[in-house]
Amino acid sequence: MDEQAKTMRHWRWEKDGDNIVWLYADNGDASTNVLSSVVLDELNAALDQIQGHSPRGLVILSAKENGFIAGADVKEFVPLKDEHEARGLIERGQRVFDRIEALPFPVVAAIHGFCLGGGMELALACHYRIADDDPSTKLGLPEVKLGLHPGFGGTVRLPPLIGAPAAMDMILTGRSVSARAAKKMGLVNYAVPSRQMTFAARQTILKPPPRAKATGWKAWTNHGLVRPLLAAYLRRQTAQKAPQEHYPAPYAVIDMWDRYGGDPKALLAEEARSLARMVLNDTARNLIKLFFLQERIKGLGRKKGYAPTRVHVVGAGVMGGDIAAWCAMQGLTVTLQDRRHENIAKVIKRAAGLYHKILKEPRAVTAALDRLIPDIPGHGVGRADVIIEAIFEDVEAKHKLFREIEPKAKADALIATNTSSIPLQVLGKALKTPSRLVGLHFFNPVSKMQLVEIVSGPDTDAEVAQRAAAFAKHISRLPVPVKSAPGFLVNRVLMPYLMEAVILETEGVPASVIDDAALKFGMPMGPIHLADTVGLDICKSVADILSKSLGGEVPKRLEQLVSTGNLGVKSGRGFYNYKDGKPERSKPDAGYAPPADLTDRLMFRMFNECVACLREGIVEDADLLDGGVIFGTGFAPFRGGPINYIRAQGVAAMRSRLMQLEARYGQRFREDEGWASL
């Protein structure tokens, strides 16, 4: 034991009566295990010690409650400057894992909780994998979500183990699987209850079964004749989700597997070379930055001892209903108030669909539905820790509601509004204590959009806003504090962009061409399609409100569509015609050339508004603005957010492009004063 204590902070091992060594990952500096280079070096040293004892077998497991190993230490990628240096770091990890694979005695990974990225690759290097079948166990290779791909042999070891289709699906999508799914696909040898983990690991070493590998048709998927066909198919599939120019990592994985899939040694070397390139490109840099930004935003919701259990939502429309359904899925007891049974019935139906999709397990679905309690008389108000108003956007109606709610609410209950357009100071007038009112502005669809704007009016108590942020974090959403100014952050920066799209469409640019330009930039949905999806009536009302306070004009075309009842997806017709909820996109005539400044016109309207928001202090700083816009609109994440993008492109160059636009199109491209101080 002395030899351990002297050298190791992150690992410890012990030998049992069967001469089996149990090696625990136990990060000395944090509650989560990550594979930093120090941790990898120590692992190497531990293997030296263990091999000296010639054990009968080795079990690698985690001493942390939350899981096995969460992955490589992303922080170490940030300072990397050149490919050579990056490759050195990667190859050092590869060597340790190769060494584990080559050990002359059986090696078992005993996995609970998360086993991701480098942690998963360590498990793959072991001879056997045993997973705790608890729902918290998650195995996956999520590197692609950071613009990277596995680098410690994951792309080499996974396809032969479970067959190329399943392996590529895991690597290319980054999705993780449960222990049971992992057992079914052959990723782990056993999925057992936690009470059997130790026994299962010991038995596996005492009587080692044959090592697992893909058999039958799955084995053939790695054959040299099959790989090119499958690779072509995978490239096509990937192209539908992530264009190569923005997301090179998945394509690199497909290419190297296609080329070197038959030669593990060559593939391993290429994996390191390729990852070293990826680590340095902008996509990965921006996505890694975003990862840390996300952690920072989560931290904004940190509040010790705050554990709300009951939520009361008033208004069972699309937003209110989805907020209620989401909260119930997150384990809170939710009462949902509305005047009409029919509205609540629709929410229950949507909730059931969401729960089936996400929770899957029927008992969990039932439990979540049981927590979502229809409450027409509004009995839940008095018991709720959080009360969220989500009725239609009418000041009078909201005032009336708040006057009813306030006397019934618990003294420490959070009173929140989901308004997207009415200033908090206006709504707060109905309250005896206006400082209690805070905005919790969710985005549609609640289950996909992670952002919640935490809106503070001039009266809002700072502690109340802090509690609202903590509530958002409690329900796994990202809280970004914003000032109560028209449109807050997200709607305000989105609206000029949508309006410019409408102007372009009015000028005769086909809707599908406008949308394609935005998609090409990296937006998740084109602006015209987005306007149709949100509802043109809602767009118009938000645009009306914003143009009143911020100037600008609402395009006539929008008014005309709304007045003739063409409201977008919900009415079956807006800018597009909709069939089964999908737009009918007409192709422009051959030889049609879109305006050269199409993308600039769309994006610079948004950029200019972002700069204005930053200058006005709508959000605290540029990073939070970038995070808010990405998590609230889906703004091209690989560009790291609008302000990050402006700075990366060069502020001066961007300003001159904006000035050109102003020269061509006038006032609406007038540069905000904020550009000067970027």
């Binding site: 009462t335 019935a345 229950i348 927590r371 309690i373 027409i376 839940g380």
Partner: protein, 436 residues
């Protein structure tokens, strides 16, 4: 035989009903309805529990009456308690006394509160009759066991050869449940016995049935069924009202229906019998201590409960037998009761109970009464409909009628109510309630 025990047990604590709710009663339409029994009970109890000033884990126990829980609902009370968020430390148990299971649950809750074992109890009844299990015959079960034992292909083939077509005939649990296993009569046939014995005509039955529908329609239109909590399925549908109601019911229309049980000459039809229905009714019972501790409103008081046994072939007279000793024990005459809920399993069976109490011989011979007990005021009986119009989910009805008679006392600002029902197998149950 049930004797009128004189012990009014003055050392017992008072038992209060603080609140209650029920699901709409949904008519079974041939195939399984939208809600399992547990879903019905959770659906009714969830808003009830949500509007209380205490947390669901404050209950001392949860007691539920249910005749035929589904295969995934063993001890359904525990399933419901956990789903309601009562937590692991609140015990729960299920009781079964056929058609009176819901009342049995209230009686048990009442006893435990009266004796000081419990202070706060969630009790009620539930039945999803449309989900009643369909079973395999015993020979089929035996064959399956043999088939599973057969290892080789030949042995399996041999087993298959032994399968008889008759084995595949399913056993309809609901029909078996509605047949007396001792005397072999269906419940409807026991009702025919009463029609014969008390000379109650088809027209009288049909008139009573029409009255039931009209009373229910009237109550609904006046908002007197406020105890109903809407149910929502996962397909976007809402169920807010009892759906067995026929507003256009008339004696002429009912006269066209054929008898169901004594074909072709009988008088009991689907139209003058209780509907086969899914539903749940849940009440919160509390001791004085609990009322004070949580500052609970009081809807009324459960005063006393009585059970009686009688000839299974006459089971419909159960209420006459159970209510008589209850009145006697509390020195009451029928005229002292403000409102009556006698569950309408069959129109004829309620009418027969009324007739029995007017019959001096019957009262002397069967009910140990010196003479006729007296007349029940028909204008105070089942004033807001009953089993014929809103259905009789067997496990739930006993709780429903106790809750509703209390609601009627509240609405009319009167003081004493009686809820009673007949029980398949030859029993009666009755509960005396009061609003002080």
């Amino acid at each position: 035989m049930a004797q009128a025990k004189k012990s009014k047990s003055n050392d017992m604590r008072a038992v209060y009903v603080v609140d209650g709710a029920r699901s709409p009663f949904l008519k079974a339409k041939g195939k399984p309805g939208p809600f399992s029994a547990a879903n019905l009970a959770v659906g009714a109890a969830r808003p009830l529990v949500a509007r209380q000033p205490f947390e669901p884990d404050a209950f001392d126990e949860v007691i539920l009456g249910c005749v035929m829980p589904g295969p995934d609902e063993a001890n359904i009370a525990r399933v419901v308690a956990l789903r309601l968020g009562c937590g692991k430390r609140v015990p729960a148990w299920t009781v079964q006394r056929n058609c009176a299971s819901g009342m049995q649950a209230l009686d048990n809750a009442m006893q435990n509160i009266a004796t000081g074992r419990s202070d706060l109890v969630l009790a009620g009844g539930v039945e999803s009759m449309s989900h009643a299990p369909v079973l395999l015959t015993l020979p089929m079960v035996g064959w399956l066991a043999d088939f599973n034992k057969a290892k080789s292909f030949g042995a399996k083939a041999g087993a298959v050869a032994k399968l008889k077509l008759s084995y595949l005939q399913p056993v309809i649990g609901l029909l078996r449940g509605l047949t007396d296993p001792v005397v072999g009569l269906s419940m409807g046939q026991t009702a025919e016995n009463l029609a014969y014995r008390f000379k109650i005509s088809r027209t009288q039955m049909d008139e009573f049935a029409v009255r039931s529908h009209h009373n229910l329609a009237n109550a609904l239109d006046n908002g007197w069924l406020s105890e109903i909590e809407a149910l929502y399925d996962t397909h976007g549908n809402v169920y807010a009202e009892d759906d067995g109601l026929r507003r256009d019911s008339s004696v002429e229309k009912l006269a066209k229906l054929a008898p169901v049980f004594d074909r072709p000459f009988g008088t009991v039809t689907a139209g003058n019998s209780a509907q086969v229905t899914d539903g749940a009714a849940m009440l919160i019972l509390a001791s004085e201590d609990a009322v004070k501790k949580h500052q609970l409103p009081v809807l009324g008081r459960l005063v006393d409960c009585q059970w009686a046994g009688l000839e299974p072939a006459q089971m419909g007279l159960g209420p006459a037998h159970a209510m008589a000793p209850l009145l006697q024990r509390h020195d009451l005459k029928p005229g002292n009761v403000d409102y009556w809920e006698i569950n309408e399993a069959f129109a004829v069976q309620v009418l027969a109970c009324v007739e029995a109490w007017k019959d001096a011989d019957y009262c002397k011979n069967e009910l140990d009464s010196p003479g006729a007990i007296g007349e029940i005021d028909m204008t105070r009986l089942n004033v807001d409909g009953g089993g014929v119009s809103l259905g009789h989910p067997v496990g739930a009805s006993g709780a429903r009628i106790v809750l509703h008679v209390l609601k009627t006392l509240e609405r009319t600002n009167t003081h004493r109510g009686m809820a009673s029902l007949c029980i398949g197998g030859g029993q009666g149950g009755a509960m005396l309630v009061a609003r002080d």
